[in-house]
């Protein structure tokens, strides 16, 4: 008998499974439940994007591509980043096409972090950052953000977290799960803190297109002096409803990107051909139409966002106005329940699934993540049920 505990890497074994896993298992047994627990758009990829991929199959485009990704796609990404966010990247050596932005996170961490170095992870945030840092041999250092500051990373919290061992900061805005976004002045304040340090920035901007209330996303690399220290991660999943295609990209200084591409080349080889062709279509038609389809999806999200915030506020669950992504993150503290207990009881009593806030870091406790990328009538029914549930507490 092999004792596998003696065989596997204890550092990996020690990483806890994602906090949403348990929830997934319970909800999966309830087919009638309304799920506000998803993390992806409720739109299907626009037809002409899908059609471009179908056409590529008919044309026999079934080969490997360049490790960096198709040159046409990298040129379009460069054009997109400049048009939308005023940052310039050389498509030849500063843009790498990845398998989702998730791969980009992993590559950036592995290319930058040495054993024992610290990576600052603002929380609440996406579940993969801290495990990614551990897999890269580093030490994740959570940096708390607060409801009071609308879950934006404050310069004071950042300054306090930096030590001589700090290698990088992960900047996860617009934020999953809180919906927080950083305005220009918020980012400039962080840039002021970082300017005199050697800290690199891994800026996960996957929700860059999903901002509301007249606010547009500011790419961190566009701030003076920040380009040189920033790896910008983005992708097609959220803005173009292309989650299952697994298409992302990383942009940054060529010396870092070369290392990221080296890991990518030896582990992945290249992102899938069909996904790249679909992504080219998404960007080329987006650039031609001023992203009309993205704006139509945004208009629809925005209405649902307002409805959710209003409903939670009326129920007495404090909820700041999220200005990005497609989540609201109301506080359930007044119920006296932990976020895990709240979500589990809500699910069993009313068959509505939300994600406990502590799945996204300890400071997410006392909150629940509700995704509003779901059909309007389902949202309304879910809100009615949540209200009824609150009445029973």
């Amino acid at each position: 008998m092999i004792d596998y505990n003696q065989k596997v890497n204890p550092a990996i074994a020690a990483v806890p499974p994602s906090g949403i896993r348990k929830f997934f298992d319970i909800v999966s047994e309830m087919p009638e439940a309304i799920s506000l627990g998803v993390g992806e758009p409720d739109f299907v990829t626009p037809w002409n994007i899908r059609d471009a991929a179908i056409q590529s199959l008919e044309d026999g485009l079934t080969q490997y591509t360049s490790n960096w990704g198709r040159v046409q796609l990298r040129h379009l990404i460069a054009q997109y980043m400049h048009t939308r966010f005023t940052v310039r990247y050389d498509p030849k050596q500063e843009i790498l096409v990845t398998v989702g932005a998730s791969e980009g996170i992993d590559l950036a961490l592995r290319a930058l972090v040495c054993p024992g170095e610290e990576v600052l992870v603002p929380e609440p945030s996406y579940v993969s950052y801290a495990p990614g840092v551990i897999f890269a041999g580093g030490t994740p250092v959570p940096v708390q953000t607060t409801f009071k500051e609308e879950f934006r990373l404050s310069p004071a919290a950042l300054r306090a977290a930096i030590t001589p061992r700090t290698k990088a900061l992960i900047l996860p805005y617009p934020n999953n799960p809180t919906g927080a976004m950083m305005r220009r002045q918020d980012l400039e304040a962080l840039a002021d803190v970082l300017r005199d340090t050697g800290v690199m920035v891994i800026s996960d901007e996957i929700y860059a297109e999903l901002t509301y209330g007249g606010h547009t996303h500011i790419c961190f690399a566009s701030l003076p002096g920040m380009w040189e220290r920033t790896i910008t991660l983005n992708g097609f999943s959220k803005s173009f409803a292309m989650t299952g295609w697994r298409m992302g990209y990383a942009c940054g200084p060529k010396d870092v990107l070369a290392l990221m591409c080296k890991i990518h080349q030896y582990t992945i080889m290249c992102a899938p051909m069909q996904g790249q062709i679909a992504a080219e279509k998404a960007l080329s038609q987006g650039l031609e139409s001023d992203f009309a389809e993205v704006r139509a999806m945004m208009a629809s999200y925005d209405r649902r966002r307002r409805l959710m915030v209003d409903a939670f506020t009326r129920m007495g669950l404090q909820c700041f106005e999220p200005l990005g992504a497609f989540y609201v993150f109301p506080s359930i503290q007044k119920t006296g329940l932990s976020s895990q207990a709240f979500c589990e009881r809500l699910l069993r009593a009313e068959q509505v699934a939300c994600v406990p806030g502590d799945a996204f870091g300890a400071c997410g406790e006392g909150h629940i993540r509700c995704c509003y990328a779901t059909a309007l009538e389902k949202l309304q029914e879910a809100l009615r049920r949540i209200e009824r549930f609150l009445g029973t507490l």
Binding site: F23, F24, S128, R303
Partner: protein, 164 residues
């Protein structure tokens, strides 16, 4: 001209006509009175014409016959197709009527309780109109999609129920 709010209201009501003015006000960040005024303007302008449900009749017990009839007509001097169109849309069997480009002039969508009644409508009411020079009737066999809604099969959410 219709303003941004009015266009947003059209979008919202197209998706679900039951959404109330207070809800629309929340969704658009406007106040309720402004929304009510915009809806009144849209109704008076005959942009918002009717608030109706989309019904999949095939799932009910109702036996009904639907057909699309291509109609060729002789346009009238000065009035073009307007007079004959007005004559045709008066019939209660006619549910929709379009002026078409191409091989025929008017497309008439009709409904009747039985095949016999529908045939009778074509032969005794429609074909006998003076300007009608020819008709071709196509019976509808099955509705796959109507009003932007897919009727066939289960149109379920294909996403994982919980994802990070």
């Amino acid at each position: 001209m219709f303003n941004t709010l009015e266009m947003q209201i059209i979008d919202i009501l197209t998706e679900d006509a039951r959404i109330s003015p207070p809800q629309i006000a929340i969704m658009t960040g406007s106040d309720e009175d402004t929304v009510r005024e915009a809806i009144r303007h849209l109704e008076e302008s005959r942009v918002l014409v009717k608030y109706a449900a989309v019904i999949n009749w095939e799932r009910t017990d109702r036996e009904w016959v639907q057909a699309v009839i291509e109609v060729r007509v002789q346009p009238q001097r000065d009035r073009g197709f307007e007079a004959i169109a007005a004559r045709i849309y008066q019939f209660e069997e006619v549910k929709s009527l379009y002026l078409m480009s191409g091989a025929y002039d008017l497309m008439v969508m009709v409904e009747a309780p039985t095949l016999k009644q529908l045939a009778s409508f074509v032969s005794s009411k429609l074909s006998t109109l003076e300007s009608v020079t020819g008709t071709a009737t196509h019976f509808m066999l099955k509705t796959y999609k109507y009003g932007g809604v897919v009727f066939t099969g289960e149109h379920s959410d294909k996403r994982l129920v919980v994802s990070p």
